[in-house]
Amino acid sequence: MDKLVQYITPDLIKYQLANLSQLVFEVTDACNLHCKYCGFGEFYGNYEVREDKNLSIEKALKLIDYLVEFWNTNQNASARRNVYISFYGGEPLLNMPFIKAIVNHVEELDCKQRFFTFSMTTNALLLSKNMDYLVEKDFNLLISLDGDAENTAYRVDHNQQPAFDRIVKNVEAIRQAYPDYFENKVRFNSVLHNKNSVEQIYRFFKANYNKIPSIGEVNTMGIKPEMQEQFRNMYQNVNESLSQSEHYREIERDMFISSASYQSLCTFIHQYSGFVYHDYTDLLFDKKAAQKIPSGTCIPFSKKMYVTVNGKILPCERIGHQFALGDITDQEVVLDFDAIFNRYNTYLSKITNQCSKCSNTKACTQCIFYLEDLEAKPVCEGFLNEEDFQTYYRSQMAFLAENPDAYHRIMEEIVVE
């Protein structure tokens, strides 16, 4: 049995809450679209049942007030810190009363060491109707759209009608009404599947909006056994898709850090150049000896807190709801720090041995919650032995040799936190 090591402590978790940088609400589990590849759709079995529910305003406010208490303690490390208040769905614009209540409450908070940025991921179907408010509150907007009409064919409504025309009409409306806002605050996110390609997505957004979208793959976690084959048909790997593009180097260069290859290079350079420092004290002291937790898993709440429509509290929206760390009841926020600490240390201890033999621990991005069989005997798919690691190292250096200007760009322009 792997030894249980205390990688995190209850106090460390509290510290993360006192210094939280993003709070994400699943505003509603209802959606006015019925996308084929939706993480809450037919392929997946690792989420709570969708019941067209809205997250309770009272619960959300309770959580914010609970967090404000932490933000006002001596564990707060910041004189000024931005906190993202993010609205996620389902389709968040279906529950505007919730959004307005939260925004009002946040704007009235007595917490002078915090400022807030609102953000939202939306399918844009209700964008025209709500855009004045979103612009007034300076929301960062991430619009989901997979390319042109054909590329976006999986984004359909409940009557199986394609949503593309309605989405682009609304996008056009906000662009016309608020061109500066559109330029600065609106971004796009596309899902890659078998009806589009990286090149098609890239060209669509470049030609129509002069923007570079982020491109993600369909989530591979939690696929129902009976849906495996259908899923495989739909799934496409971003790197493979890009490499099949006619002008892939040009596209890749223009996409820069939005492309998987440059993202990977960025991680590599950040971890292996030896010249990236987190803050000023890293320059003062040699911190090589500092203990790193195994895998690439985040310390809970070090990046964000995600609240499901049922009031479950998770460290991230991208992991299964079975890994909820707490709950908001009608009475209170329940976060048992000892239980979280035990759970994390138990999980982490299960892979400590693998990590100790892995040659890529410095640049590991593997989250344990993505590992199969985490409760029993997880096996890390990101494990690299020395030979694999050397192959990885050489491939990154080869990519760098082909794109030498990227080095200074990454070192001088990219802030990863």
């Binding site: 001596n74 490390a77 010249f275 803050d279 000023y280 004290t281 320059l283 003062l284 030498p404 802030v415």
Partner: protein, 411 residues
């Protein structure tokens, strides 16, 4: 070397390159080895290597090596493990690249201020490393340079106003810094034995489990309350001339947890300090030169740096970077005076007052306004010196001399 074949000529990533005017320096940060040159053709090759698209390696025609000076310098590069030069063959025809020493400081003040959703004040408590609290200013001693010592190093300072911090003020500070990674907390005065709430202060220090050090002038140590400090470390300051051969030193040393700081202004002070060290068998001590306004020669001979001093021990790449971004002497320090004013350095203007601002706000203020913590060698004549960022950060001595460089490199 074969002039008929071509070469890959490159520089290792741990080599720092500095060029000023017609002079260039390559410094191996692992071994502390330096190569200095004024050969323009060679410097041009090194410049070419440092162009972004070259990533530290260039194609070198074999015929270039016919120039003897170039050939010798490349040989020196290889010998000093500063660079490499090998013939291009079929098996290594792809140009190698290096991850060059480009500093990437994620929380660089300039980067953070350029981002709308970031703030310089993020996680800023982590920057508080060294806190000195002058709890009172009363003292009966009459040290000649009392007002000047603490402009050069941590030292007690008296004033006729007799201000003092209340225990409530001090505890409020301790509450705020409970989670700071404080490495050193110094409590000094005035004469701390004249601080009326000393016992209360000791209780508060124990409550917060601070390993505080007390800074005391040796003449104030002959006090009945000295034993109250038995659990704490003490910095004992000795100024010259020493009264009665510091006859209270044996009893101070006997009680332990003591570091002696000799404040010397001359060679004869140093001789006396040596005598005392030997006489009393002092093992934990420090000798601190003090500029009294009249001992410039003493400083020129003993404190000013030469090229050999700068290069005396290997300077790590991290330190070279640090010298470009922060002041390694001042960064992380705050000084709280008996009236509550706070300085990042006692030669710099106050950044605020503990009664009006939180410690977090004071730290933020210093990071933004940079009265001391980020003072680097970015002024003449250091900007013209190839050792600019190999040289240690400016110290208090530069401040009191009113001179950017205390060295014999750039007169």
């Amino acid at each position: 070397m074969d002039f008929s074949c071509d070469y890959w000529f490159g520089i290792f990533p741990y080599v720092f390159y500095s060029k000023k005017g017609n002079k260039a320096l390559l410094y191996n940060t692992r071994q502390g080895v330096v190569l200095k040159t004024e050969v323009a053709d060679f410097i041009a090759l090194i410049d070419e290597m440092h162009q972004h698209h070259n990533l530290g390696v260039i194609f070198l025609k074999g015929s270039t090596l016919k120039q003897e000076t170039i050939r010798q310098l490349i040989g020196e590069c290889v010998d000093k493990k500063i660079g490499f030069c090998f013939p291009i063959t079929e098996t290594n025809s792809v140009k190698p690249v290096q991850m060059m020493p480009v500093l990437n400081l994620q929380r660089d003040v300039d980067k953070l201020s350029a981002e709308n959703d970031r703030a310089i004040g993020e996680d800023i408590i982590h920057y508080l490393l060294n806190l000195t609290i002058h709890v009172n200013s009363s003292c009966q001693q009459n040290c000649t340079h009392c007002n000047d010592f603490n402009k050069q190093f941590v030292f007690c300072k008296c004033s006729s106003v007799g201000e003092q911090l209340s225990l409530t003020q001090i505890e409020h500070v301790f509450q705020q810094i409970e989670y700071a990674p404080l490495q050193k907390l110094t409590i000094t005065g005035g004469n701390i034995f004249q601080y009326p709430e000393l016992e209360g202060l000791l209780a508060v220090l124990k409550k917060y489990r601070y390993q505080a050090k007390f800074g005391i002038h040796y003449l104030n140590c002959s006090n009945d309350n000295y034993d109250l400090l038995d659990d704490f470390s003490k910095d004992i300051f000795i100024t010259f001339p020493v009264m009665d051969q510091a006859e209270n030193l044996p009893s101070i040393l006997k009680k332990g947890k003591v570091k002696i700081h000799f404040i010397i202004s001359s060679e004869s002070d140093y001789q006396q300090a040596e005598t005392i060290i030997q006489q009393y068998g002092i093992s934990d001590y420090q000798v601190l030169p003090f500029f009294d306004g009249n001992n410039r020669t003493f400083f020129e001979e003993n404190v000013f740096m030469s090229e050999d001093d700068i290069l005396a021990s290997p300077i790590k790449q991290r330190i070279v970077f640090a010298n470009q971004k922060l002041n390694t002497n001042f960064f992380g320090a705050l000084f709280i005076l008996p009236d509550g004013t706070v300085h990042a350095n006692l030669n710099a203007p106050a950044i605020g007052n503990i009664d009006q601002q939180s410690i977090l706000d004071l730290l933020n203020c210093e990071m933004i306004h940079n009265t001391a913590w980020r003072q680097i060698r970015n002024q003449h004549p250091c900007t013209e010196c190839i050792y600019q960022y190999l040289c240690p950060s400016p110290s208090n001595y530069e401040q009191v001399f009113g001179k950017m460089n205390l060295c014999s490199v750039m007169e």
